[in-house]
Symmetry: C2
Subunit: 476 residues, 2 copies
């Protein structure tokens, strides 16, 4: 605890009544100890305009940022230069090789029993169709079980349509990820997947797919909820629905990209690091506003605010804008490799990758501790500390700390023992916009964005500055 904070604690023991004072004499309550710097961060974040200007620049002037695209490299160059202009410390680009998938022209249409265009987006990683496209009858399934029940006889030579209802992202996305190879294993010539969303206004959702090694590589695309439902009804009424799919998609040699890194060097233990950020890449549609531009800009701006306020935490507070989360996780893996043996000095990893709707707090996890396990001493001690920090965010309804969560970019850190936090939001519409042309700046509420800056700033600062590490070294 720094001197100014301690003076505040003395004065505030009466204010923070509920059971805080006695405990605070032994182990300072973090909400009390950090009231003053947290107030400065909150005040600056909640009135911030520069963060929004950055997000507006990123989404408006640069746009979406698929790995391998010039847009992503523009964004990386801009962030790198701007961070230097802001006198952030140790600003650098960590080179990362990333996959380079290119969509090319693509279209699909029903050609029988009626002719009708289908709104579609090829899935990331898909191969192309032959130059004349693929025309075949469609067979519709609602699950892998239904596919397997059909068997090779009724799948071979067909296009398989996965008209799978929305069951939440985790359960639904497996059809996007694995549907093509599962269908190809039974002889299908292409796969169409109902977009992974609970709400649609005739909006296709792209996203990554993977080919299994033991099945032919067939093209795969997402169609809208509306067209999936329509084709299903047509087929169920006895129609032989035939579709022509045309895709030019190709995977080029890996491209050069980079994680963008900036920090405020710790004043006492600079080798200890709290890292926070999001992924700078996006899909090649929309503007990558909620996924994950707003997170990158919020983490960056939180750091910029802390720097501008002259706050220098005990440990190093680092922001990373990871590259290539969407189709490879190259950035997160490269970052882990760079950390190397010093992984034990990573005190906490904070990721925001669930959109920038109104934040409610943080999820907290520790490798080897299940969310339902409330008996792990190290976890429980850290959880109590985090809830103290959360009290500083209660005033913007963002102070809830829950068990679990996680993040893709910080996954390699998580699995090697770094305690993690994941920013959580109300989560009302994120998956409506996810991986679509509608993930645009107009969907981000500037107030929610400012609240995210505040949340990242306060948690990042306190975790970097608190006297003890969140979790003792060598745990578990």
């Amino acid at each position: 605890m720094n001197r100014a904070s301690f003076a505040f604690v003395i004065g505030l023991l009466a204010v923070f009544g509920r059971g805080g004072s006695i405990h605070a004499q032994e182990t300072p309550n973090l909400a009390e100890a950090y009231r003053e710097p947290a107030g400065r961060i909150l005040g600056a974040a909640l009135t911030d305009v520069e963060g929004w200007e950055k997000l507006s620049h990123l989404t408006t002037q640069i746009g979406n940022r698929l790995s391998g695209s010039t847009h992503l490299e523009q964004a990386i160059a801009w962030a790198f230069e701007t961070m230097q202009d802001e006198d952030l410390e140790n600003v650098r680009r960590q080179p990362v090789k990333v996959p380079h998938w290119v969509r090319g022209n693509e279209h699909a249409k029903v050609v029988a029993p009626v002719e009708r265009p289908l709104s579609m987006l090829g899935l990331g990683g898909s191969v192309a169709t032959p130059p004349d496209g693929i025309t075949a009858s469609v067979v519709v399934v609602g699950s892998f079980d239904e596919l397997d029940a059909l068997g090779r006889e009724r799948v071979e030579g067909r296009i398989v349509l996965y008209a799978v209802p929305w069951m939440g992202y985790g359960r639904t996305v497996q059809y996007r990820g694995n549907g093509a190879s599962r269908a190809a294993a039974l002889g299908a010539v292409a796969a169409l997947v109902r977009s992974a969303t609970g709400r649609s206004l005739y909006t296709p959702h792209t996203g990554a797919m993977r080919y299994a090694d033991d099945a032919p590589r067939i093209p795969a695309a997402a169609v809208t909820v509306e067209d999936a439902a329509w084709m299903r009804r047509m087929i169920e009424s006895g129609a032989d629905v035939r579709v022509t799919l045309y895709m030019e998609a190709q995977t080029l040699p890996d491209a050069d990209s980079a994680n963008v890194i900036a920090e405020i060097r710790g004043r006492e233990r600079p080798e200890e690091i709290v890292v926070m950020g999001g992924h700078f890449d996006s899909w090649d549609v929309g503007q990558g506003a909620h996924d994950d531009g707003a997170a990158c800009m919020a983490a960056w701006q939180a750091l910029a605010i802390i720097k501008r306020l002259g706050l220098r935490p005990r440990r190093t507070l680092r922001v990373v804008l990871w590259t290539n989360e969407e189709n490879g996780l190259g950035g997160g893996r490269a970052y882990r490799e760079m950390v190397g043996e010093a992984i034990g000095d990573h005190v906490a990893a904070i990721e925001m990758d669930g959109g920038a709707e109104r934040p409610v707090g943080m999820g907290f996890g520790l490798d080897g501790v299940e969310p339902e396990d409330t008996q792990n001493p190290a976890y429980e001690a850290a959880y109590a500390r985090l809830r103290q920090i959360g009290r500083l965010l209660d005033v913007i309804d963002a102070g809830e700390v829950s068990r679990g969560g996680g993040g893709a970019d910080i996954g390699p850190l998580m699995q090697d023992g770094v305690p993690w936090l994941a920013l959580r939001t109300v989560g009302e519409h994120y998956f409506d916009w996810h991986h679509t042309n509608s993930d645009t700046l107009d969907k981000v509420d500037p107030r929610d964005f400012r609240r995210a800056i505040a949340l990242l700033g306060v948690f990042g600062y306190v975790l970097a500055d608190m006297p003890d590490r969140l979790v003792p070294p060598g745990t578990p």
Copy 2:
């Protein structure tokens, strides 16, 4: 009141307690008098499956139904034949000449300072662009006042983008309807309009536009909320945004179409008519499910249920599926002409054209009586009677009768004195889907659709059967 109903009233005076019994001895409370037939209609409507099958056929097998299209004529032929098969009475097609606008191929893209496709839909009635399209700089306005403030100097030779925020349909739609001519009067070469909606998932909304006589006819198209916001931000940041618009739209000679009419002939006063329905045409996108297929199928099915139940009201209960509401109102006007001098025999006109979300009741209007006027004796007497009928629908939360409303197809009847009712819904998402590819069957909740059948069936039947006319003849 028929004999069975009267017996019920005697038995039920105790059940319908609140202030009904004394009044009922003088003027029967309609909720009490019609409990028995209303219960039969409700029971049949709320368990109906044939109506949904009709709606599914219409949306799945036939699809959208723009005036002049073969789809609309297929729908008309199918309804005409099916109504005859159901032994509905006096089934006929009233010939109507309708406008025949054809969209053709169309596309738009930003060509500078970056190249990016724009999702768009030409507006109904628009002219085409020249074969090479129109390429020009975009000037953005948020209102007609802003347009006029720019003046000819800054509009001439440009494409005007109306980036007008959603202010409800009535206020926003004027930019779609009149924007092209207002811009052309200042020398604009084309008009783009932000889609008239409060929510978007990158979804353009089409709809009718009109050319003024005193301005050049320039092409007009809707763009998405997202692209309108993006272009506005680009322009406000100083960019010269240039767009290429290409449209093949053309207006062909008027086409043959028809209103489809069926009825149950009145047992006592067959010349007196309660008419109800919706419009059978739609825009040339989506499936015209909420707008207005579900209404047509609900009104038709309500009639079919009343017929099947063997209920024959005192007056004639008629269903009309009006043609050409969307771009001409030809069907509504032709119907009024057919009625001619006998307009005084039209006891009530009921229209459903606000989507098939969960119904809450009916709006009620009378020509010359403002919704806020609570002093008109004829209106108040009728309003009290309608509220009695509404009590029969309270059990499905659809019994509210409110002041005002209206309908386009019944407009010519309304203005000539026919009392009108307009089905009202919760109205949560109708304008998200309106005139888009997302107006599809999957957006209709079968339970809400059944409730609409019940609501139309009960109001239609009671209005056709109640001893006195809703409003005395010759009023006002």
